[in-house]
Structures are given as structure tokens and as C-alpha cells.
Amino acid sequence: MSSILWLIPLLPLAGFLVNGLVRLPKPVAAIFGCAGPIASFALSVAAWKGVPVEQRVFEWITVGSWSVPFGLRVDELGAVMLLVVTGVGSLIHLYSVGYMHDDEGFSRFFSYLNLFMFSMLVLVMADDIVLMFLGWEGVGLCSYLLIGFWYKDLKNADAGKKAFITNRIGDFGFLLGIFCLWKMFEATNFVEMAGKSIPDEAWAAAAGLLLFVGATGKSAQIPLYVWLPDAMAGPTPVSALIHAATMVTAGVYMMARMHFLYAFVPGVLETVAWIAALTALVAAVIAVAQNDIKKILAYSTISQLGFMFAGIASSNFTAGMFHVVTHAFFKALLFLGAGAVIHALHGEQDIRKMGGLGRKLPLLTAVFVVGGLALAGFPFSAGFVSKDLILAAADVNAPRPVYVLLAATALITAFYTTRLCVIVFLGKAHEGHHDIHKPGILMMAPLVILAALSAVGGKLLERPIEAWLGRVWHSDTTVRRQWQNLTHGTAEEQRRATAYLSKHATRSEIPRVEPMESFQRTATAIEKRLNREDHAHHFNMTLSFVLFAVGAGSALLIYTRARGWLGRRVAGPWRGIHTLVSNKFYVDELYEYLVVAPVRMGATVLWYVVDRVLIDSVLVNGTGKLVYAVGWVLRRPHTGSLNAGVALFALGALAILGYLAWQSLT
């Protein structure tokens, strides 16, 4: 297996080259476009059996003693992500064949989509954070290309630019984070880094924070989340694949990959927890007051990404990654479902102009509602299981307000999801939508598969994924070394080991050795935490039931029975808050005022002073004018008259003679 690992990213790249360079008829282009991801999925399934597998494909960068090979490595964590990316990716490719069928940019679309798959697979399979950065930038590029896919509309091109530039800010942090890692470990290979102990906590914290800055860009967290809602300008399959299921979860994946770093910097994790919880809540609140079906889902994605980060930040990497997986199922389903709805209504995205679709498109409604229920946290659906894990982890390991914010978010999530489903599928049909475009089999089949995964995938995968990923976090080397540090290390190492073990170790990892005092204390701390986790798990499951029931119930009540009352409230006493929320808390305007306007003003000044005045006028035109002026002066003696020329020559000769005479005299 390890010798053909390179085929997994290469096949989509081949698809990109074929569709990018050759203009093929649509059915052939579709076959080439879908073959790559599906083959990669098959290979990923094969790779699953033998993890960890690795392969060095070629030497990529060599500088002195430092070298980065183009090395691929699939461990348990990578395999989970790999299956999600290629699996959900393949389904979305199939769906796109139906969705993009009438588009003139059909093969361009598939070539971009395949290039995205390649970049994402490089990101996931990289065994070195520098190579991961290559994939990281590649997915950013593809995101830009696909958001601005319908580039003839200036608004779409602007949205692409916004995403690209916002991501660039985050990427700068990521790059600085890599530098910190190198400074600290003198290695950038994941396995090598994990094998070393952290020499300096300050550098570790800096690296952790800077890498998280990268994650806030790619995974749309405060303060860099503003690009994701605008990214909905792209075709809907793109929103599903890139801006919901795979690329935006890259930040979470990266943090899980760097678990050996984050597990030792609790302070950083606390910061992450706060940002994640705030993002989750703010985005959920904004989603309540949006009317564009894709915007609602976009804000919901931001909110759910906040949940994932909260899981990571609560020292439960499994919970965070598990939510990545379940979210990929139900959010891809919701986006593709929304795409089918938009397709059916000939491009209508405003939910106020929808309604009553339930009777006209029963199957689509069914699968969409399944996705909605999973997002809202319907008991034992995929979203419920993973969200529950995160809540339980936050209850035990995160600051109390973070936990409260997350619980509130879960409530609001149930509310806005139910609102969305009720408005779109129940009620009276809107006039003007008589000829409804029924989605074809190619679009419905992926939806049904994703619906099945959203319904039962969570409960089914919970135990296997927990055991599977546990092998990564609780790899022998890390845990055993910490136990050794606890008994034999310096005071500093003992402190660090205690902090790490009491948050991360499990019962079975407590080795049976002679009872030392520090050892006993740590073992007790672990026991205590595990007991609290068990307790929290039961408590939070009940809480999740209640949150779902209250959120969904109230939305159901309000939007089926009391819309008139709500309308009067919004028009009257709630007007201020409604304006604030439906305008997304004016964050875009704030950024426009604080960031964009000053930058633009600086650019204007530079353009005028430096470019127009200094370079254009003084340097470029100034040189020309100077040469012209000198030439004008020198041209004067050249009268063309032979006699005048000779006279000047004679005068010159006289001057030289005079000078010589004067010199010989003095």
C-alpha cells in the first residue's frame, strides 16, 4: 500500500490537468472529473487497513541540513479525514454533474474542483507542516477560484477576493507559527516534532497561538470569519464541499495534528475555547435573522466550526474531530439540499419567497429535514452525538462561561434550523413557483446517502472513531514519556506532566508501579476528571434533549402559529435588536471603517505621492525632460554653418593655447 499512496492525491490532479487543458464534451468531462475523487476514495479505503502508512515521493526542499521531502503519511487521524474528504467529495462531484449540467463552464468547474481535491489531500496526507502549508495555500487558491466561478458578476469576484485576502492574513500567522516550530523543535516533520519534548513553553505558546491565527482564517473564526458568508457567491456544490465539509475544517484538523503541542499549552487552549464559543454564539444569533438560505447555512457552518474548536480546546481532540466528520455529513447534505431547492425554484435563494415545498418535493424535503434535525441536535442523530461529546468535554475542561455559551448556541441552533425548515417546506406555496424543476437521480442519490449517514452515522461511528483516534492522542511514546517525566523528571517537567496527564490520560494508561506521592496525586486527578466526564456525559445528554426540544419547539410554534405576532414584535419593540442582528452586528461595516478604509487611504496616498509624483513625474518624466533640456543647450552651437563651426574650433584652439601659455608663464 505504501508504494501507491502517492496515487491518492495524484488522481484528482490528473483530472484537473485533463479538464483544465482539453475541452471535452460534457459527459466525458464529467467522467474524468468524477473518476479521480472516486478512485482516491477507493484507495483511501484500502489505505485504512494498514495505517499508519507512509511514503516519501521525492525530495522537495533542501536547504543545508534542513530538508522537506514530499512525504505522505496516513495515520489514524489522517485516515479519518481522508475518508471524509474523498467520500463526501466524491458524492458532491456526482451531485455537481447534475447541478452544473447547463453551465457553460462545466469542465472548468470540474478542473477547479479536482485541483481542490488534490490540494486538500496534500493538506491531509502531508507528513510535514511545510508540505501541509502547500496544501493549505492550494485549497485557499481553489476556494478563491470557485467563489468567483461566475466571475462575470462583479459581486462574485469581490467575494472571492475577500475570501482570499482574509485568508492571507491568517496564513501569515500560520507561516510565523511554522517558524516558531522550527525555532523550537528544529524540525517540521510531524512525527519528529511529536517525538521531541517541548523545550520552551513561551515558544510553544507563541507557535500554538500563531497556528491558531491561521486556523481562524481558514476555518472562519472571530475575527476572520467575515469571508465565509460572502463565499456563498460560489456554486452550491462548492459551498457544500469547500465551505462546509472539508476546507473550513482544515484548521480543526491542523490543531488535532498538532495535539502534541496544544496538549502542553493549556493557556492557549483556553484562549481558543473563548474565541470558539463566542464565534459559535455570534454566528448562531446572526443565522436567526437571515433570509438567504445559503447565508443561514453559512453562519451555521461558522457556528459549528466554533463547536469543533471548542471540542479541541476542551482537551478532547476526539470530540472536535468527530464533529468534523458528522458535520461533513449533515452540512454537505443541507447545502446540497439547499442547492436542489434553489435549482427547483430557478435560482431563488430568499426563504421568504419559498414555502410549501413539502408537498411538491417530498423526497427532497425528507432528506433536508433529516439534515436539519442532525444540525439541530435531534436525539441520537449524527450532530447530536458529536455535539454532546463537545458539551460534556467543555463542561469538565473549559472555563464555565464557555460551556454556558456553547449550551446557548445549541439552543439557538435548534431554533434557527427549525425556522429554516418550517419556512421553506411548510406553509402556503409562494405564487410564481408553478413549474418546479425536479432534481434528477444524480442529484438525489448523494443526498440520500448523506441523509442516511446524518441519521445514523453518529451513533454508528462514535465508538470506532473514539478508539481509532485515541491511538493517535494516546500514542505510547507521548503518554509513557509523561509518566516517566512525572517520576524521574525535573520539577518543571513534573509540573508539565501532571498538567498533561490529568487532562488527557485514561484509566487504562495509569501504569502499575510503586506508589509515589506525585504519582498518586496525578492518578487521583485523572480518576476525578474521568468520573466528572462520565457524570457530565449523562447530564449533558439530558441537557441536549431539553435544548433541542425548547429550541425546535419554540421555533415550530412561532413560525407555524404566531408569525403575525412575531412580525408585530419585530416591527415594534424588537426593531432595534432585529436590525442589529439582521445586519450581522455591522461587523463588515466596522471592518470597512477600521481596516479597509485606512488601508485604502494609505494606498491612495502612496499611489499619489510615490507613484504619480515621485516615480512618474520626477523619476520617469523628469529624466526625459532633463536630457531634453541638456540637448537643447548643446544644440545651440550646432548652427550647421561651416564658417561658424571653424570659428568655434579656432576659439577653442586659442583657449587651449592661452591656457598652456598661462601655465608655462606661472
Binding site: R635, G640, L642, N643
Partner: protein, 98 residues
């Protein structure tokens, strides 16, 4: 004694220089140039005799040779100019004006 020769030499050179500066006919200018060269030749010969050295004589022969060559080239150019412009008046030949 030498003064007489030098006065003659200077006079020839000055007359030639005046001709080159003031006259417009190319033929006259060329003749004036010859006059200047010969003025110089006179000075060279006078000094050669004064110092009883043969360098000056050799130089004079050299100058004569060069002058002959120069005249032949100059006259040829003049004929070519006349064929093209139907004039040898230096005042009319101003195409080198900057």
C-alpha cells in the same frame, strides 16, 4: 634673421585663417587651408635651419604629402557636393544644423 621668416609664416597662417573663417566658397576655403599649412611649413623650415636639425625638414615633407592627399579628397568631395546641390557655397550647405 629668424624673425622675418616667422613674420612671414604668421602672416601666411593669419591670411589663411581669415580665408577659412570669412569666405564662403568651398574652393577658396580649401585654398586658405593650404595657405595655413604652408605658413606652418615656413615656420618649421626656419626653426630647422636655426637649430641645424633635419627633423623640421622631414616634417615639412610629411605635411606636404598629407596636404596633397587632403586636397585630392577635399576636391573630390566638393565635386560630389556640387553634383548633388548645384552649389559650393558654404552658406547654403546647412543640413548639419542641430
Amino acid at each position: 634673421m629668424i624673425v622675418k621668416y616667422l613674420v612671414l609664416s604668421a602672416a601666411m597662417f593669419a591670411i589663411g585663417a581669415y580665408g577659412v573663417l570669412a569666405r564662403r566658397n568651398l574652393l577658396i576655403i580649401l585654398m586658405s587651408v593650404e595657405l595655413m599649412l604652408n605658413g606652418v611649413n615656413v615656420a618649421l623650415l626656419a626653426f630647422a635651419r636655426l637649430h641645424a636639425q633635419s627633423n623640421g625638414h622631414v616634417f615639412v615633407l610629411m605635411v606636404m604629402g598629407v596636404a596633397a592627399a587632403e586636397v585630392s579628397v577635399g576636391l573630390a568631395i566638393m565635386i560630389a557636393v556640387f553634383r548633388n546641390r548645384k552649389t559650393i557655397d558654404a552658406g547654403d550647405l546647412r543640413s548639419m544644423q542641430g
